[in-house]
């Protein structure tokens, strides 16, 4: 049993597999006529979003509602959050409301850790700055398992702006915990200094995407932001796309069975071409759907269900 999900490091192998198994059962119920499960009736789940992310917010809301929880959403827009109330004061408010779980999305790394120190309910990291996004990693692992049958033994390339990517950090941790091999690929400017010494067993770094692709089961493309170019992390979008973008030519280097993932939102034409994004190998749409099941499973686990 874990109280919070702040980092993918909080999950050992058995707990992670337990979540994926529950998510599978949750997904099965989603196909039925009655989509609501009574599991969290009478419990309060708060979505505290300091960043605009309609996709993730809706996913968490849907997950909590399908478990019959009372759902309250605080968005950065139109609430006290935007009026400059401190996280501490907001935490005290949530505590007074009796929040059983809070899913927090925040631009500052570690904000969920701070929140966990101030409230008695569970805290679920829904993305904190450039740190982690553990439910994204869980849904990615879930997607790999449903497409390829297993996660253990897979070779996964995570490509692009690893330095600023919470998706990359959480996936690196979770996938290696689950026994996958992870290769982080990108220009050296976008890979953290000293990361090679901090990597878990089973992980490595490469600057050469073409060399990595032929041996991959999964390629996960990360969103690259335009402002990185202005900060001289790379010279131009065109050069980035040439060296690290996934287009049809590169996709052809992949083994037959390999899949292409992207956490979204995509920059079509930069890190991924439309032909690749819309191809049969792409799991982008499934990832969104799987997000709800995985978040249901996490809420279920944190709020006292048994795996």
């Amino acid at each position: 049993m874990i109280k919070h999900l702040l980092s993918a490091d909080d999950l050992d192998r058995d707990t992670a597999i337990g979540i994926l198994d529950i998510a599978e059962r949750m997904a099965a119920t989603a196909g039925r006529e009655i989509k609501k499960l009574p599991t969290l009736r009478g419990r309060t789940v708060v979505n505290l979003f300091y960043e605009d992310s309609t996709r993730t917010r809706i996913s968490f809301e849907a997950a909590a509602k399908r478990l019959s929880a009372d759902v309250i959403t605080f968005s950065a827009k139109g609430s006290s959050v935007s009026k400059g109330e401190s996280l501490k004061d907001t935490a005290l408010t949530l505590q007074a409301m009796g929040a059983d779980a809070v899913a927090i999305r925040h631009p500052a790394a570690g904000a969920p850790h701070r929140l966990a120190g101030w409230i008695s309910g569970s805290v679920l990291n829904a993305g904190d700055g450039t740190h982690e996004h553990p439910t994204q990693a869980l849904l990615d692992a879930y997607t790999m398992r449903s497409r390829l049958g297993h996660v253990e033994g897979l070779r996964v390339a995570i490509v692009g702006d690893v330095l600023h990517s919470r998706v990359a950090r959480s996936n690196l941790s979770l996938l290696t915990t689950l026994g996958a091999e992870v290769i982080l690929v990108g220009p050296p400017t976008l890979l953290p200094v000293g990361f090679e010494k901090a990597l878990p067993p089973g992980a490595s770094i490469s600057y050469d995407l073409d060399a990595v692709l032929p041996k991959c089961d999964v390629v996960m493309m990360l969103r690259v932001q335009r402002e990185r170019m202005i900060d001289s992390y790379f010279p131009s979008e065109r050069e980035y796309s040439r060296r690290y973008g996934l287009d049809r030519r590169r996709m052809a280097l992949l083994p037959e069975h390999a899949i292409v993932m992207h956490p979204g939102p995509m920059n079509r034409g930069i890190e991924i071409s439309s032909q690749v994004a819309d191809s049969a190998r792409s799991t982008v749409v499934e990832q969104v759907a799987n997000g709800v099941s995985v978040r249901m499973a996490v809420l279920y686990l944190l709020l006292g269900g048994n795996a």
Binding site: S86, A109, G129, G194
Partner: protein, 430 residues
């Protein structure tokens, strides 16, 4: 008010027990079995007497942030920490960049009367790094400023730094540099390395400090000026300082207690009480800093006492202000990190925390062992005491100590400022 005090049986660093008779602000006799008539006697058996400690780097926050600290509360914290003089950094609001502001701070210190508050003047107007402040006016003001610093900011422009170094030679001034190449630390949150990679916090690379130190020791050598490096935090900086000193250049350096004790691993929980600039570094850096302080490559310990209001620390890491309290725990941390491991003896502590900083700051009344005719600025320390740090018990208005709950060695029992106690029985007299 005048009074007479007899300190009985205190041990001088490196010496045996001795008695010290203090009258009218000065030590009048040192020896054994002195005439105690008319004197208040302090039994100092088992205590060590140090020259009153001198801090080259204190943020007193007044004027401007009196909710975080005032000259008076900071002075009290200093006295309780064994200090008799502190140098107040210039990054107040308004900035201490004119004779008027430095005289105001100096007067506030004199009114509080708990330590000598020696203002530091800003190097540039508004700490903006564009134009020299009126350094000469501050030097000739009542505050007699000798140390100039834009601390909090680096004097990043090399030409401006050169001019500042040269200009202050006219009044034996020294530029205290906060060494941080600003283009290498945009958005920086913690030491850049394995831990920052894992935590997703923007890195503050060691090279941002080392590059400025390398540049500035070369400049100081070129124009033969005095340069002081604030809060040295990396092993690489130590190597550069060692080289600069071997050239005979007039370069001094300080290390903070927190950089002698704490490492970047404390950042892992994202509690901003551990956020400081320069950031906590690696265990290898800590070891190099201790060694450098032992060898004298780093000359002094300075606290960088940086009080912050609760709301500036009880928040997200990235939004928190950098800085830690230091005055009341500095001596204990130095004992823990330097004396207990055998890197420094008590005479070395007196050098690094009193005699040498007094000399760098030009504070002629401070940094002297008790001797007839010398101003009685002294500290009595119980070396066997152990104290658990309780933030709510600190004299500072702020609570941002990184040592909360830690057991630290030694305790300041009494502090004398010009012959009058500011601390007795470990408590401030007012």
């Amino acid at each position: 008010m005048t009074s007479t005090w007899l300190i009985r049986g205190a041990r001088m660093p490196g010496g045996g027990p001795t008695d010290i008779l203090i009258r009218d602000g000065v030590t009048v006799e040192v020896g054994t079995v002195l005439d105690s008539r008319g004197a208040t006697v302090i039994d100092a058996d088992g205590l060590i007497v140090l020259p009153g400690l001198v801090d080259l780097h204190t943020h007193l926050r007044e004027p401007g942030r009196e909710d975080a600290e005032t000259v008076e509360t900071g002075s009290r914290a200093a006295a309780l920490g064994g200090y008799t003089a502190v140098c107040a950094m210039a990054n107040t609001d308004p900035v201490a960049d004119t004779a008027g502001v430095v005289e105001q701070v100096w007067r506030l210190g004199r009114d509080a009367g708990l330590v000598d508050v020696q203002p530091i003047g800003a190097v540039t107007v508004g700490l903006r790094g564009e134009q020299l402040a009126e350094l000469g006016a501050m030097a000739t003001s009542a505050a007699r400023v000798r140390i100039f610093s834009d601390d909090g900011h680096c004097v990043a422009d090399p030409r401006l730094m050169r001019r500042a170094l040269e200009y202050v030679k006219a009044f034996d001034g020294v530029i205290a540099q906060h060494a941080e190449e600003p283009r290498l630390t945009v958005g920086a949150q913690m030491h850049e390395g394995e831990v920052s990679a894992r935590l997703g916090l923007t890195g503050w690379p060691a090279v941002a400090e080392e590059a400025i130190i390398a540049r500035d020791v070369l400049l100081a050598g070129h124009v033969d000026s005095r340069l002081h490096i604030c809060h040295v935090s990396t092993a690489g900086s130590v190597e550069i300082l060692r080289w600069a000193k071997s050239k005979g250049w007039r370069v001094t350096a300080e290390v903070t207690p927190h950089h002698l004790l704490l490492t970047e691993e404390y950042v892992t929980g994202y509690d901003p009480v551990f956020k400081v600039n320069p950031p906590l570094r690696t265990a290898a850096d800590v070891a190099a800093l201790r060694q450098a302080l032992a060898e004298g490559v780093i000359d002094v310990v300075a606290t960088d006492h940086a009080p912050h209001a609760v709301e500036d620390k009880e928040c997200e890491w990235a939004y928190a202000r950098p800085g830690m309290l230091g005055l009341q725990t500095a001596l204990s941390v130095v004992v823990k990190t330097m004396v207990e491991p055998g890197l420094l003896d008590w005479d070395g502590v007196a050098d690094r925390m009193s005699r040498i900083p007094a000399r760098i700051a030009g504070l002629t009344d401070h940094g002297h062992d008790p001797a007839p005719g010398v101003p009685a600025n002294l500290t009595l320390v119980d070396p066997t005491a152990r104290v658990r740090v309780d933030p709510s018990q600190l004299a500072s208005l702020s609570r941002n100590t990184p040592y909360a709950g830690m057991d630290l060695p030694c305790q300041v029992v009494a502090t004398f400022l010009r012959g009058e106690p500011t601390v007795l029985d470990g408590k401030a007299v007012r």
